[in-house]
């Protein structure tokens, strides 16, 4: 009991002498506000980043690749913007770090808050991707009217490393056709037994298609061909609007 009094007295003495001071209420209010602001900012950044990833997957035709067999799937994984995906995952980790300090998050298994965050960020990104935000900014970046993020948009505008070419079919026969891209460049496409045509679509002159294969002197040995639908071209794919 004596010890109790001693510690209480010691602390009381420090309080009276001014050696021990309590932090003000406004300090804690400000700290909470900053913490909430950090969560909101990281959340917005995550949504922006993921919607941008979805956007560049579309404009580069990367999301059509898994429909073109194992080779298409492999090319799809190689072509994914891994840097952006890793940055997005780091954002998610930071979000979880901030969120798990709150009662509603830590009382439940981590999985629940992670799934909730992924769902929120995922659904919001899909919605943002449906707006004209990214295509508008991409256009501005093309005209050098977008400061700060202009380079990012220009850099991801056309990812050619995955050997995918988009254009309109001309002069088609059984084993080949000409592919006219948006710059009016003509590429000669060979169709072989190894060529996988998505869902065995019937190809016709005038069809807009994505051809996958290695380009060699304006000739492509196609390993995959995927037709691009009209509504998709008009509504969701800014690059295809050129046709």
């Amino acid at each position: 009991m004596n010890t109790n009094k001693t510690l209480a007295d010691k602390i009381q003495k420090k309080i009276k002498s001014g050696q021990l001071k309590m932090k003000t209420k406004s300090y804690f209010i400000l700290r909470t506000l900053l913490s909430v602001l950090a969560i909101v900012l990281i959340l917005l950044a995550s949504v922006f980043l993921l919607s941008f990833v979805l956007f560049i997957l579309r404009i580069n035709g990367i999301w059509l690749m898994p429909g073109l067999g194992i080779r298409g799937l492999m090319t799809f994984f190689v072509s994914l913007p891994w840097f952006l995906i890793i940055v997005g995952l780091l954002f998610l980790l930071a979000l979880e770090f901030f969120v798990k300090k709150y009662t509603f998050a830590y009382r439940k298994p981590v999985l629940y808050s992670v799934v909730a965050l992924i769902l929120f960020v995922g659904l919001s990104s899909i919605l943002i991707d449906r707006t004209s935000l990214h295509s508008g900014w991409m256009q501005k970046a093309g005209n050098n009217e977008l400061p700060l993020m202009g380079n990012m948009y220009r850099g991801y505008r056309q990812m050619r490393e995955h050997d995918a070419y988009v254009g309109v079919i001309k002069n088609i026969d059984q084993n080949s056709f000409e592919l006219v891209d948006k710059d009016e460049q003509v590429l000669f496409v060979n169709i072989t037994n190894q060529t996988r045509i998505f869902k065995r679509q019937v190809l016709q002159e005038g069809d807009l298609v994505m051809v996958m294969g290695e380009l060699d002197n304006n000739k492509i040995e196609a390993f995959g061909i995927h037709k691009v639908e009209e509504d998709f071209r008009i509504n969701y794919h800014p690059m295809f609007r050129h046709f």
Binding site: A8, I11, Q12, L20, R107
Partner: protein, 191 residues
């Protein structure tokens, strides 16, 4: 704020302190010093600086008292400060990195019933804890101490350790099993 004395509710005392009647903070120190000291001895094992650490807990509690939400329980808030202080002291001593996620906290577990032990079982567990507690890891030692020795609920332990309530149940069950195995040689036969 009038009528604050040793019998007053913790939260009423805190409210008085928050409003500037700092002389009442001593009542909280007197009331909780023994409990925090006991928690520290069980949690940290043999250390020279335990009393300094306990003093540090109360210093931090006073410094941060304006952040205390009067709707919540003061004891849980104080234990949370003690938990952080002791964990930091252990990390400093053992130079252990902080784990961001523990596998136990990731997935849902069925919530074990609180008070599932009979009175005799509970006495046995407490006796075993006195004997063998220091031999098990902090991860299991802390919930066992808080549950059996400090007699806190799963919910309170969840708030102190900031882990899911179901994980508290899992750690207590596993910890009890570990203590049972470790204490076997000492003649305890808790089942």
């Amino acid at each position: 704020m009038i009528g604050i004395n040793e019998q007053s509710k913790d939260e009423d005392i805190v409210e008085a302190v928050q409003q500037g009647q700092t002389e009442f903070f001593g009542l909280l120190v007197t009331k909780y010093e023994k409990a925090i000291l006991r928690y520290a001895y069980k949690f940290l094992s043999q250390r020279q600086d335990i009393e300094d650490l306990v003093q540090d807990v109360f210093v931090k509690a006073y410094t941060n008292i304006q952040s205390f939400d009067l709707e919540r329980k003061f004891s849980s808030w104080l234990y949370r400060i003690a938990h952080n202080t002791f964990i930091n002291a252990l990390k400093k001593r053992d130079k252990q990195p902080l784990l961001f996620f523990d596998a136990d906290t990731l997935f849902p577990h069925p919530i074990a019933k609180e008070k599932s032990d009979t009175l005799i079982d509970e006495k046995q567990v407490k006796a075993m804890l006195d004997e063998c507690l220091q031999k098990i890891s902090i991860k299991y030692r802390e919930p066992l101490v808080l549950y059996y020795l400090e007699e806190l609920s799963y919910q309170e332990i969840s708030d102190i350790m900031q882990i899911p309530v179901s994980t508290v149940g899992v750690r207590i069950r596993r910890g009890k099993e570990k203590v049972r195995l470790l204490c076997k040689g000492k003649g305890y036969e808790y089942k």
